[in-house]
Amino acid sequence: MPHRFPLAIRLLHWTMALLIIAMLFIGAAMVSTASPAYASLIALHRPLGIAILLLAALRLVLRFATGAPPLPADLPRVQQRAARGAHILLYLAMIGLPLIGWAMLSAGGYPVRLTAGFVLPPIVPRDALAYGLLRQTHGLIAFAFFALILGHLTVALIHRFVRRDGVLETMGFARAAALDPELAEPEEADEPEVEPAETPGP
């Protein structure tokens, strides 16, 4: 059984965590303002959303190909199921939210401009009602996604600091020996330490 996720998934997880948090903040900020920041934020929102979509698709493929480390055996079944459900929802949001954004702009007749001269094609036909509904859905899912992320973060911290069961470490970069916090102390003591001041000279 693997003790943690493959390196590629771990790197994707933390990169995407930063991108997604930034994206949710950008989305909330751009809707709140009619200042010149609105134009800059919206110009950032579109390419960042497409980047998240591509990374999420890559991650989903990797995730299916490599699986996940098992949850602790003593975790109650209801919590195991909740974890599974929450992760399915997280993946749905990562992939669905950018797609809904793209569809919304398509339906509203907005060009999906990523950079100068690079415009993505529409993915749904023009329809004002569809635009309006997709726009509302985009916002609602964004809030739900943020709530889910807060829950995900809180539960990860509980695993790390209350249960101390190594679940957070499956997404971490600590050396394998340090994975179990109970073992970490003695293991680390074995590491060669540089103590120039206290080492007597020959």
């Binding site: 948090i21 949710l24 903040f25 950008i26 909330a28 900020a29 809707v31 709140s32 303002t33 009619a34 200042s35 010149p36 920041a37 609105y38 134009a39 919206i42 602790p72 003593d74 509203g108 007749g109 907005y110 060009p111 100068a116 001269g117 415009v119 023009r126 329809d127 004002a128 009602l129 635009y131 309006g132 509904l133 726009r135 509302q136 943020f146 992320i149 807060l150 829950g151 973060l153 809180t154 911290l157 509980i158 600091f161 209350v162 249960r163 101390r164 069961d165």
Partner: protein
């Protein structure tokens, strides 16, 4: 593995992370901190003046669609690398409208009028232009726009704005007074067809070498000028301008020349209330031909938001703060009306009453 209740410090440390993130999010979204003017604030201000007319644009609610084409002369080719200004013909969808948020307002009361265009280039790139028939705008910033709307809000008991509120507003905004003076002095064109339409905001043309040129533009009509009698505006038929447009188009297409004005160093690009001095370099960029008009029910313009920040490569935003504000406000208006069932347009209603 869990043996005892975790210490309070651990619980507090764990709770701190989501709370910090949530606070940051609330700050980013403007739910905490000083109140912000967003697109929704502007749409709200417009709604509170004109009333809420579901399914219609929150500004320029009364309008008519048209189709035509733009023959670029290539005259502005050296200033912008967009294929839309290179010599050639491009399809146009557009909309004429009068100002205000009332879809059935009478034309005599709505002296403000606009022409919006969407040009589609050979590579599918889109350019939206939203122009008004005054060379300057009453306000320079979204804050002033909202303040003006609030000052002009009709008192429910009298149906008229509170003169004291408007006086206080004007005392703080001499630029709006200058605009009002301009409107009062300038003759009012008697047709959509013989009005000049101005870009209002400055933009930047980006040439093939990547250099930016600050510009404004105007569409100058071929049709001979005629002025409305300002003293008799109240007696103008309700849909006078729209009926006139239909009658003129029945006789033949209407044309405008697109004149690009290039800023001289020092000309303000961030203030739509300040006209540029006369004598600036003017370039004839092409001719717009409007071939036919159609009511919004069947025309192609109703479900387009004429957001002037939708620009092709080779045309970019200036530092005018109104541009982002227009984009945000139009997006909010579009989002609102899109989920409301669209109602009949003034033109469509009249046509259907006539039995067409």
């Amino acid at each position: 593995m869990i043996t005892a209740r975790p210490p309070l410090t651990t619980i507090a440390a764990i709770a701190a992370a989501p709370i910090l993130l949530l606070s940051g999010f609330a700050w980013a979204g403007g739910w905490i901190g000083p109140p912000r003017i967003g697109g929704g604030t502007i749409a709200d201000a417009l709604e509170s003046n004109a009333g809420k007319h579901e399914g219609y644009r929150r500004a320029h609610a009364k309008g008519v669609c048209f189709t035509g084409y733009f023959d670029a002369s290539g005259g502005a080719d050296a200033l912008s690398r967009t294929p839309l200004l290179r010599s050639g013909r491009h399809a146009v969808i557009g909309r004429f409208s009068t100002g205000g948020g009332k879809p059935f307002a009478t034309d005599g009361r709505n002296v403000f009028r606009a022409m919006a265009l969407q040009l589609t280039g050979p590579d599918g790139e889109i350019w939206r232009l939203a122009m008004d028939h005054t060379p300057i705008f009453p306000v320079a910033t979204p804050e002033a726009f909202v303040a003006l709307q609030r000052a002009a809000r009709p008192d429910p008991s009298t149906g008229k704005p509170d003169p004291a509120a408007m006086k206080a507003y004007l005392a703080r905004h001499p630029e709006t007074r200058a605009y009002q003076d301009h409107i009062a002095a300038a003759p009012l064109p008697d047709s959509f067809a013989n009005s000049t339409y101005y870009s209002i905001n400055a933009f930047r043309f980006i040439d093939g070498a990547g250099s930016a040129h600050a510009v404004r533009w105007a569409f100058e009509p071929e049709a001979a000028f005629g002025a409305l009698d300002k003293a008799a505006l109240a007696s103008l038929p309700t849909d006078h301008l729209f009926t006139d447009l239909g009658a003129r188009l029945a006789r033949g297409p209407l044309r405008w020349r697109m004149i690009v004005t290039v800023a001289a160093p020092g000309d303000r690009t961030d203030d739509a209330t300040v006209p540029w001095p006369a004598g600036r370099r003017r370039i004839d960029a092409g001719t717009l031909t409007i071939a036919r008009a159609e009511p919004e029910e069947s025309g192609a313009c109703r479900d387009i938001t004429f957001d002037p920040t939708i620009l092709p490569d080779g045309i970019a935003l200036s530092d005018d703060p109104l541009l982002a504000a227009r984009s945000a406000a139009y997006a909010s208006s579009f989002g609102r009306r899109a989920v409301e069932a669209p109602g009949p347009s003034a033109v469509g209603k009249t046509l259907s009453q006539k039995g067409r």
